[in-house]
């Protein structure tokens, strides 16, 4: 194992404080952060939240170590990433036995932990004791095992890491289906059979919905309550998302998203892939803003690699990321209006501008949506001839006017205002507790933007403002998006003006990147919120652990709270105002 990395100053500070408070329960982790004894975890977490100011839980995940490492035995590790209003991260590691004892749930300390812990249970089988509802979240209950454990093999398993030896030099093509016929590649949990199976996944969903049956509701109400499903196939869920709602009349009493219909085991694929091979896969997370996903992954890997990105490449990256933000907000506003019944008018106005931006992406990267444009230490290719004049015309002339036009079209419209103002109000305290990020958080009066609190790339050299509004309703979320587009255009104008000449890639183009051992949590402000990549490397050509904290997934955790007491039609408006892409919710 490599030599131990020095814990950062902040971690050291937290370590000394916690050691004094909880002697024997805290020790430094192998690479970064602290290892907390499971029995003291809740106390330590409460102390961190209330006394040390770590109010924001960004991500909960886990890592499987089937073999002992330098300082610790074989284990499952739950990993928590905490942030303060400024600064962070503080990484907490909690060890669990691979078969047996779990770790205490932190859902009571940070409600944000709820969905993340469910996912960690689903993927790694870490049992979170005391979790209010520890069910699988992305997979179904007929799924055998926990896929992100290192000893779990997928049906078409070939080798632990790509590249596979069967492809070269004796690569006689063989389709995966021929190698493993469909009938032989199904695995079910022990003593579970698809014969006579009734979807038990539905039972707990509906059981939770049935809590009214226990109460004395008959005496209180003259109407019955019903449970309905919105989706999974529904035009206004932006993908394959199912919402189970319990209604009293037309009022939502309780609502719960059911996820996983688009799950592709992205993280497992990511652990098989080479470091570079993951870049095109990140495009497929949030397919509306692939450049931002590239940016997040490249930022995280570069932190581990320690490469300096050349200045021109940094500018190109910022240009692409901000164009993506403008594009995403246009799409978000367009589809929102579509969902609440403006139908195609405003959406097509927005998509028209988006079309011109994706044309720029196509010019630079070769693809409109699946850009695959970022490389470690730079970008894939230089801007082609004709890119800059076109980009300048868009940024200076066309898009500002069209944003104004779209605003004129919507914000004073009485119908639009009636549908949005006062709907789905998210108070700031709740927004922080649920780990919301992006426009959702900023519309609730919390001026938190990763570009400002933890500037990555060259964002600290630009002059721009963090947009914030204070009512926290659907209307404000849209006004934040309008204003953010203007701020992005402001950054773009500066970037296009100052774009320097020079190399676009640090060093030589490299196919087999080897990343030094370590762990990193790299995050960027994607248009939808904080996009974090938690990477663990053991020094090889493949990630040991590749975890993505996507903004849509985390923001969706608060949907049920937002919808309570509103009408069914408002659910659609609230969901659209959170702006989720199911590609990154289900991964």
């Amino acid at each position: 194992m490599p030599e131990q990395v020095q814990p950062s100053q902040q971690t050291a500070g937290a370590l000394s404080t916690l050691e004094a408070r909880f002697p024997g329960a805290v020790q430094p982790a192998e690479y970064e952060g602290l290892v907390i004894a499971p029995d003291r975890l809740v106390e330590v977490a409460t102390c961190l939240r209330d006394e040390l100011g770590y109010t924001y839980l960004s991500c909960v995940t886990g890592v499987d170590y089937p073999a002992p490492t330098a300082r610790f035995p074989a284990r499952l590790e739950a990993v928590y990433h905490l942030f303060r209003a400024t600064g962070g991260p503080l990484t907490l590691h909690v060890h669990a036995e691979r078969d047996g004892l779990g770790v205490p749930s932190l859902a009571g300390v940070w409600p944000a932990a709820n969905v993340h812990e469910r996912e960690t249970w689903d993927m790694l089988g870490i049992r979170f004791e005391g979790h209010p509802d520890l069910r699988r979240i992305l997979l179904w209950e007929g799924f055998a095992g926990h896929p992100l454990r290192k000893d779990w093999h997928e049906p078409y398993y070939e080798a632990d890491h790509k590249p596979f030896a069967s492809r070269y030099p004796k690569g006689h093509p063989l389709r995966a289906e021929e190698r493993t016929p469909l009938s032989c590649n199904l695995q079910y949990p022990p003593d579970w059979s698809p014969e006579g199976w009734e979807s038990e996944a539905e039972v707990p969903v509906y059981a939770r919905m049935d809590e009214y049956a226990a109460g004395d509701w008959r005496s209180m109400r003259t109407t019955d309550q019903i449970v309905i499903n919105l989706g999974p196939q529904h035009p206004s869920t932006h993908g394959i998302l199912r919402l189970v709602a319990r209604l009293d009349g037309e009022t939502i009493q309780q609502l719960e998203p059911v996820l996983g219909y688009l799950h592709r085991c992205h993280e497992k694929i990511g652990e098989r892939n080479t470091w570079l091979g993951n870049v095109p896969y990140t495009d497929r997370l949030d397919y509306v803003c692939s450049m931002s996903n590239n940016f997040g992954y490249a930022t995280a890997v570069e932190k581990l690699l320690g490469v300096e990105v050349p200045e021109r490449a940094e500018y190109i990256r910022v240009i692409m990321a901000e164009l993506t933000r403008v594009m995403n907000h246009l799409v978000a506003i367009g589809f929102f209006t579509n969902d609440i019944g403006v139908y195609l008018t405003a959406m097509l106005y927005a998509l028209q501008e988006r079309e011109l931006i994706v044309d720029l992406f196509e010019m630079a990267s070769g693809s409109r949506m699946m850009c695959n444009y970022f490389r470690f230490g730079g970008v894939a290719r230089d801007l082609p001839e004709g890119f800059l004049p076109l980009a300048k015309e868009l940024v200076y002339e066309r898009i500002p006017r069209r944003v104004d036009e779209l605003e004129r079209f919507l914000v004073d419209n009485e119908v639009f205002r009636a549908r949005t103002i006062g709907v789905g109000v998210l108070p700031p305290a709740k927004a922080i507790a649920y780990g919301c990020t992006g426009p959702l958080l900023r519309a609730s009066g919390v001026p938190y933007d990763v570009r400002r609190v933890e500037p990555y790339s060259i964002y600290d050299t630009f002059d721009w403002d963090v947009v914030v509004r204070y009512n926290g309703d659907v209307y404000d979320r849209f006004m934040v998006r309008f204003e953010e587009m203007r701020q992005s255009l402001r950054v773009l104008r500066q970037a296009l003006e100052r774009l320097p000449d020079g190399p676009i890639l640090a060093g030589k183009k490299q196919a087999d990147v080897k990343v030094p051992a370590g762990e990193v949590y790299g995050r960027v402000e994607s248009p939808k919120g904080e996009l974090g990549f938690y990477l663990v490397s053991n020094g090889g050509t493949n990630p040991y652990r590749y975890r993505i904290r996507t903004p849509s997934f985390a923001n969706l955790g608060v949907l049920g709270e937002l919808c309570r007491g509103h009408l069914v039609a408002d659910v659609v408006a609230i969901l659209a105002s959170i702006d989720v892409t199911l590609g990154e919710v289900d991964r």
Partner: protein
């Protein structure tokens, strides 16, 4: 005043509606009927200067593709030898994220040692994700990304497993669709040739 905002919204749609006719008339005065649907007009209509209807009348009209546009890889044939430029080094198979490139390296029949050419080269385009990494890292300038996007087939088995006969395309085609890339490549080759002569 209630209703003012709705009127404001409607004024925007009305403006857009009128604009489509203004745009039509502009092209009519420039060149009569049908001028709006000429390639010259398409380039303007689909640019930031476009004002009227934004639709492209596919398949009657097609958008010009930028040079970097990519669908699936193809093999470049060397005009002198008539064979592919591929040296069967295996770089593309190694970087391919979904592992859809299959290469059988040829052996020299005389010596029995590995030869610098492929005996078989397959791309399973049903798996290919069009990322372009193979072309980006090909050291022999042999793999390039194609511009052909109308490639449907009526069956799945075999139709998407492309061998050398389907992948190989002449150098002139590469030069035509990638002019900048081709020029840079030729310059580099000439430099290399000159260095060898020295």
């Amino acid at each position: 005043m209630v209703g003012w905002g709705i009127l404001k919204s409607l004024s925007v749609t009305l403006g857009r509606f009128v604009m489509t006719y203004v745009d039509d008339l502009k092209w009519f005065f420039k060149g009569g009927f049908g001028k709006r649907y000429s390639p010259a007009a398409l380039a303007v209509r689909q640019s930031p200067k476009g004002r009227g209807i934004f639709t492209v009348q596919y398949p009657k009209e097609r958008l010009p593709l930028p040079e970097n546009y990519r669908t699936f890889p193809f093999q470049v044939l060397d005009p002198q030898t008539g064979k592919t430029r591929c040296t069967a080094c295996g770089t593309c198979a190694r970087v391919c994220p979904p592992q859809c490139i299959w290469i059988v390296r040829a052996t020299n029949p005389k010596t029995g040692r590995p030869a610098r050419e492929p005996a078989e080269f397959h791309v399973d385009v049903s798996i290919c994700m069009s990322c372009g990494l193979c072309a980006e890292f090909c050291p022999a300038d042999a793999l390039k990304m194609d511009h052909a996007y109308e490639i449907t087939a009526d069956q799945r088995d075999g139709a998407f497993l492309w061998g050398l006969e389907r992948l190989a395309k002449p150098l002139a085609y590469h030069a035509e669709i990638h002019p900048t890339d081709y020029a840079a490549e030729q310059a580099a080759r000439e430099r290399k040739g000159a260095r060898k002569k020295k």
